[in-house]
Each structure stands twice: as structure tokens, then as C-alpha cells.
Symmetry: C2
Subunit: 460 residues, 2 copies
């Protein structure tokens, strides 16, 4: 057991007084703003009025604002943040030692709350604004259940009703997630259900269906717009979500500054972009303003490669095509990764903000096959202790790969990555990995072309 | 949403430099020492030589030492502790507000590590000493899996082989726990198994048995003593375990001192006593030395009431009767709580140290029925966010009851309790509670008398 360098703590916590008091709106510093959401009927930018039936008023203002650099975090939300934040910035001493790398590896760990991920940062904000508007409740969809759990917690804290449409196959196969949501008082309905018209229609057409995220979104939207005092909320992709998640990056930067550490690269996993967009926000801000430079690396699964093999185009956000069109790197709204893909990050598109930054060459992207992701996850668990979520493990994989490059070159780079959450509810995926039943499906060019051909025809 | 008092942070973390450098051995300050373990054959105190085939040498020294007040924590263990410690001392502002109590409620949260509980504190120590002795590996048993998970992690960190005998019914019903252990490289065997003679014998006699903790202990002990380079380790009850767990209390006291808060009462759940013994250690030390006074309250399930309805007598530590005799508050080694008891803390006896302190009137004990425990758990989850383990929720129940007494009297007492872990793997129990399928079995006096009559006849 060798001695380990200890000048920098294993975990750095900010004081509560040092926690961010405002979210940072990256769009204010972007020269090329993200493209606006379009009304799918008129192909004109969605107005606040059009969005008001679906989203809360304050959240719409945040969604549409490309110029205000900071939004004050209301005190009530800051109080809630203090229940599980600041999250620690961890130095991965034992992982570094196991790799034999001169690189210094840091990770921002967002899993120390019952939702098990960073999703709670935006759930609290969205629930707060719903309460402030005097609403009775909110609706949403959930697949694996992280977002649904986070929203259930947030609604319990603010005294809001919470209706979650959970993809039926997950509802049945992940009863524990469902029970966590019930513990926080949420009503969890397997989707498709007979509680909505769209659900009834789908069940009539496909009686044995086990559901999909697209269908659950459609049901959740219908449940919101047909009820007095309800709105629909979403856990990723949207500009407002990235705004709320900037608390991750702001805390990360404050802790690094306190330690006197300058990051060389920032690595985050990317599904819809909520974590990556939040983590990189203040770093990208410096980069956009020419104050500093960083490598920013998005990591996605090889089975769902929106950045690395998608196209930058207007597309539907949901497979049900009920939501506005968004310009983003996309594989096509019908694209669904192979069922044997256990590593999460299954969304067909990518946040419009991150898509614009990627198109402008300000972000790199890599895709990784899932067995290599789980190898990294297991190595991380055995060295750093934390059992990572499969999603988060994409970032671990690339952080390890970059650290091994440093071993080749002898460079002591500062690698920072986002560890978005824990894998306690993902043990079926780990079991597949342990039993050698995990494969590395990668879609062919021909497959991707089929979905790409179905993209809506919209002039940018 | 009312304003909340904020002079004291929601969470207080010690600096790494403020973490304890030595464990505190409560026995050194006890006037009446805990009774020694007895050899079941000779009824004489077990010697270090007799214990050496089963336990590691350094751990035997700790087990038998009633006089040394402090044991230095080896630097390697302190390094490992820094991966998940210091754990936060939390102020339960939102719970206080929901209760409308003038009491101030604090809890020490030990669940922010992958084992999900405080068990890792002793697992790391025991694995370290096994490694130091040059052993190849360790064996243990696990029921619900918290201890097995903690030991698997510790063995992964120190490069030791880990063989876990998991009660068969848990192995089959809790596959996720099993997979977590496998992620850390442990070999997990459902017990009873064909890998030991005792397992073969039990399977021959009871072909369909789903196992018991007593049987798993017997298999784990046999697996250790019949293998070159292996020893057996245990996660509770023993003096050495309480010594290691004193890190909980030492951190708690240091944080309270830093905040300028004097506890009025310390509340902990009690199964075998590992958490309670660790949490109260420095407070009880002050009490024993006459430096301060505290109410110390042990909380146990009404279905397994070792303190409140057991007797103080020598008894076997395991149902298989292969281990030494210990003098403790016990219900009899054959006693097993009803299968519908979902709240954990199922052990028939209690740590000899805590038993002596209770017999000396230095600890109070209360027992609580499980539906009231889960009501407290749900209230805690909805106010404080953390989803508590059923075991930990016993302490929550009593903390709430004490806070409500303060509401009656108007006293602003400082209530401190131990939140030992999280309930992510206990959702079946929560589901029973949500579905109204939980009942409050309490053993009758007649039932308890049956087990009591079987206690070994040993003159104290």
C-alpha cells in the first residue's frame, strides 16, 4: 500500500455560504445562439403564449432568454439545495494509482441524494416555479426512473401533486424505482394507460405493447393540458434544464479555484445533455469570452451516437411528435437503441445549446461501446468505492482513456469529469456484464440512414 | 414556505485534518467491564490462542483489551476513510418545521457510501488487519446484504479474497445486493451450500431449506478455519466492531463541539449494537468519567426486543452454537422474529458492551412497532429527502417522538440521532407498507419464555 499524495483533499466541499446564488445562462455568451423551438404546424418560433399551456410561466421565460447571463436562484430553492448540496469535488487518488498515470483526475459527484443523480437540481427548480404559479401539480414521463424519482422528491418538498407516466416495461421490471416514487407521494401510472386518450388509442392499436418513452411523453403532456392547474415538466434537452444544471459547473469551478487547480479538460456523458450542459457551463463561458481554454469532451454510447453519427437538423423531441421541433444533433425521432443496450443515454437527440456549440467546434465528442463502459465502471467501483450509474460510466471510460494517454506522454494533466449518479437500481445491467451476456451493438450506416430519411423537412 | 433558521448549516463536514486519528475504546472507562467470551466447552474465558484460528491477531488484541483508551487508526485505514468520510452531521430543519417542535434535531448520516451503511467503517479495519497479517482472504455471512457489501468493498480496496455466505432466501430474493458484491469481486454462495460439511449436513436433513443467518455463520466459520490463510470476520456484536465504529461518535462529537452544540440525548437503533455502540462512545465516555450527562436511548423493534424484554445472561452468538458464549441481553439463540418483520434488526442478542451499560442503568431502551417505524421513515423521506433504511428508521421514530414531547413541554432540546443507512435495497418492505400489508407482530410472553428456557446454564 503506497503513500498517496495528500496536498489536495479526497473530497472538497464548499461552505454553504460559497454555494452559487445564481444560475449561469451560457446562451448569453454564445455568439451563435441555439436555434429556436418551432411550432410544428406553422414552422414559426414558438412564442411564450403558445408554450404557456404546457410549461410554467417563469420556466418559459428562462427557456426563451438568450441574453441574460445570470438568473438568481430563489432562496427557497437554495434552501432545498442545501439538503443535498454542495456536492463533493473528489480527487480520484486511488484510480490514478491503479492506472499509474501522472494525470490528476477529479470528479464532481452528483449521486449523494435519493434520486441518485443530478436530476434533482432541475426538478427542484421546476417544482418551485410550478408552486409559485399556484399550480396544483405537474406531470412527467420517466423511463428508467431517475427523473421521475427526482421530480417526486421535489414535489414532496414543495407540496405539489406529481403524476408520473412510467414506461410500462420499466414499471414492471423496476418495481423498486416505482416504490421510491410512491414513498414521496407520487402517482405512478404504467404507460400506455387508459387514463389518456392517446394511451387508449395506442392500447387499441397495440394491445400487448410494453410502452415507450415517446408514448409516455404524449400521455404526460395530455394529462397536463387537459387538467386545470397542471403543467408538464421535462428533465433534459431544454434550455431551462441546462440553466438549472449550471449549479454543477459553478460549484465545480468554485472548488477548483479554491484548490488552485486549472482544468485541462472537462468530460461528461451526454444523453439529452442536462449533465454535460450544466457541468461545462462556466468553463465554456470563459472559453466563449476568450478568458481561458479547455478541452470539452462529450461521451455518448456507440449504440446511440447522436453527436458522432447524427445530423444537425430540426427534428421532433418525442417519438409521438406532439412536442415542438428543435434543431439538434439527432438520429431521427424514431431511433431507439437496441434493447440489449443497458447503458442508458438512449435519447435520439441532443440539447439545442450543446448541438450549436458542437457545430461551432467548441465541444469534442467520442462514442464508446458498452462493455468498455462497464469495465471502466467496475474498475472505478473497486478503486474509488462508488458504484457508478451506467450513464456516468461513459465519462469514467473516457477519463481513464485520457489518463492512459497521459501515461504514454508523461503529462500531468488535470482531468475533470462529471459523475452524475449511482447505479443501485441498475444491477440488472451489471449482472449482464458479470455473466458475459453484454454485447456491443453498433447501428450500421444503413440503419441510421433509414431514420435520417424520416426527418421533417424544415428550412433552417 | 416559511423562512428557516440558518445559523447552523444544514450539513456540517469536518475537514479531513479534523477526522479522528484514533478509535476510542469505551471499555477503558467502564467500571463494570463487559463479561468475557467463554469457551462453550470449558466455560472458561476464551484466550487469544483459542481465538487465533478464527480471527486475525490484531483484531483479537482489540477484542480482549478492556483498558487501553485509544487505538491509533492506521494511516492506510484513514486513507480509505477519506474516500467516504467524514460523514455529514445534518440539521433536520425541515423535519423540525413539519413537526412544529422547538427541539433541534441533528442526525449523523452514514449512508453516503456504496455499502449504504456504517458497516464499512469496521469492514475496512478488519480487511486491513487481515491483509497486514499476510492472509489471502476472509469469510463472512450476510443476511440482507449490508455487511456483505461493505466487506466486499473493503476486500476490493485491500486486494483480499472475500467469500460471503448469503442466506439462500436473500440470495434469491435480493439479486441486486448479490450483484453489488460481485462487482467488488466477492464470491457469493447461497447458504446452506454443498461447499462446507455443515452445509451438506443441513441440506441432507432439510433438503428444501431456504437457510438462516445461524447456518450461514457456521458455514463461514468452517470455510475460514479449514482454509490456509483465511479468517472469519463479523460485522456487529463484537467489542472490536464497536471500537471501529467509534469513528461515528467521535466525528459527531467533534462536529457538535465545532458548532457549539451540547446534545441532550443521543438516539440510535440497536440490532447487534454496532451503530449504537459507535455513535455513543465518546458521549458515554464523558458520562462514565462524570464530565457530562446525556440521555442515551437504544431503539429496537417490538418484534425483536432484546433489551426491553430479554434477559442478561450467557448465550450463544449464533443459532448453530459454534461460536463462543457471550453474556448479553438476549431472547435466546433460537429466537427469530416473525417472517413478516421487514424492519431489520433481527438479531436475538446485543453487544456485550452495551448490555453491561444497560444493566448498569446508563442506557435507556425503547421498542417500537414497525408500522410506526415506516410512518416515521416516510415522513423523514418527504421532509429531509433521504430515503432511510428500515433499521435507521427506528431511531427516526424515537427522535420524532422525543421532539413531539418537546412540543408539549416547550423545551428546545438538542436531539442527536444516528441515521445508519439508506433503504434503496429495502423497497419490498416499503411496498408492503404502502400497500397496507405490514402488520405489527409482537411476541407473547409465552413465546419468549420458550426460547428463554433453552438458554445455556452458565454461572456468571
Amino acid at each position: 500500500m503506497s503513500a498517496i499524495e495528500k496536498q489536495i483533499p479526497f473530497k472538497t466541499y464548499l461552505e454553504e455560504s460559497e454555494m452559487p446564488k445564481a444560475w449561469y445562462n451560457l446562451r448569453a455568451d454564445m455568439k451563435n445562439k441555439p436555434a429556436p423551438l418551432l411550432n410544428p404546424g406553422t414552422l414559426q418560433p414558438m412564442t411564450a403564449e403558445e408554450l404557456a399551456g404546457v410549461f410554467c410561466d417563469d420556466l418559459i421565460a428562462q427557456e426563451l432568454d438568450n441574453t441574460t447571463p445570470f438568473f438568481e436562484i430563489p432562496e427557497e430553492i437554495r434552501t432545498m439545495y442545501k439538503m443535498y448540496r454542495p456536492s463533493p469535488l473528489c480527487r480520484a487518488y486511488r484510480l490514478e494509482e491503479a492506472l499509474g498515470t501522472p494525470a490528476k483526475i477529479y470528479y464532481k459527484f452528483e449521486g449523494n441524494n435519493t434520486s441518485g443523480s443530478h436530476k434533482l437540481n432541475s426538478a427542484l427548480a421546476q417544482a418551485y416555479y410550478a408552486k409559485k404559479q399556484g399550480l396544483k401539480g405537474v406531470t412527467t414521463e420517466t423511463g428508467a426512473g431517475q427523473w421521475g424519482t427526482a421530480l417526486s422528491m421535489a414535489c414532496a418538498f414543495f407540496g405539489l401533486d406529481c403524476k408520473v407516466y412510467m414506461v410500462k416495461v420499466s414499471y414492471e421490471q423496476k418495481p423498486f424505482r416505482r416504490e421510491v416514487m410512491r414513498t414521496y407521494g407520487a402517482e405512478v401510472t404504467p404507460s400506455p394507460s387508459m387514463t389518456t386518450q392517446v394511451g387508449q388509442k395506442i392500447l387499441a392499436e397495440h394491445p400487448g405493447t410494453t410502452g415507450s418513452l415517446g408514448c409516455a411523453i404524449s400521455e404526460a403532456v395530455e394529462a397536463a393540458v387537459t387538467r386545470e392547474g397542471y403543467r408538464y415538466v421535462l428533465g433534459s434537452v431544454l434550455n431551462q434544464v441546462l440553466l438549472h444544471q449550471s449549479v454543477i459547473g459553478l460549484e465545480t469551478k468554485a472548488a477548483l479555484d479554491k484548490l488552485g487547480v486549472k482544468a485541462d479538460m472537462i468530460i461528461g456523458c451526454a444523453g439529452g445533455g442536462s449533465n454535460l450542459g450544466g457541468l461545462i457551463a462556466p468553463f465554456m463561458g470563459e472559453k466563449l469570452r476568450g478568458e481561458a481554454d479547455y478541452r470539452i469532451i462529450a461521451v455518448e454510447p456507440a449504440s446511440c451516437p447522436s453527436f458522432t453519427r447524427g445530423v444537425y437538423a430540426y427534428d421532433f423531441c418525442d417519438t409521438g411528435m406532439v412536442c415542438p421541433l428543435a434543431k439538434m444533433y439527432t438520429l431521427g425521432s424514431d431511433f431507439i437503441p437496441a434493447p440489449n443496450h443497458a447503458g442508458g443515454l438512449r435519447y435520439h437527440g441532443m440539447s439545442p445549446i450543446l448541438s450549436q456549440l458542437y457545430d461551432d467546434g467548441l465541444i469534442e465528442a467520442v462514442s464508446v461501446p458498452q462493455t468498455r463502459v462497464f469495465e471502466a465502471a467496475e474498475m472505478f467501483a473497486r478503486t474509488e468505492g462508488i458504484l457508478p450509474a451506467p450513464e456516468s460510466s461513459h465519462a469514467i471510460r473516457t477519463a481513464i482513456d485520457e489518463a492512459l494517454k497521459c501515461k504514454e506522454t508523461g503529462e500531468a494533466k488535470n482531468i475533470v469529469f462529471g459523475l452524475t449518479g449511482t447505479g443501485y437500481f441498475d444491477m440488472v445491467a451489471y449482472e449482464k456484464f458479470h455473466d458475459g451476456q453484454m454485447d456491443d451493438y453498433i447501428p450500421t450506416d444503413e440503419e441510421l440512414a433509414v431514420y435520417r430519411a424520416k426527418l421533417p423537412k424544415v428550412e433552417a
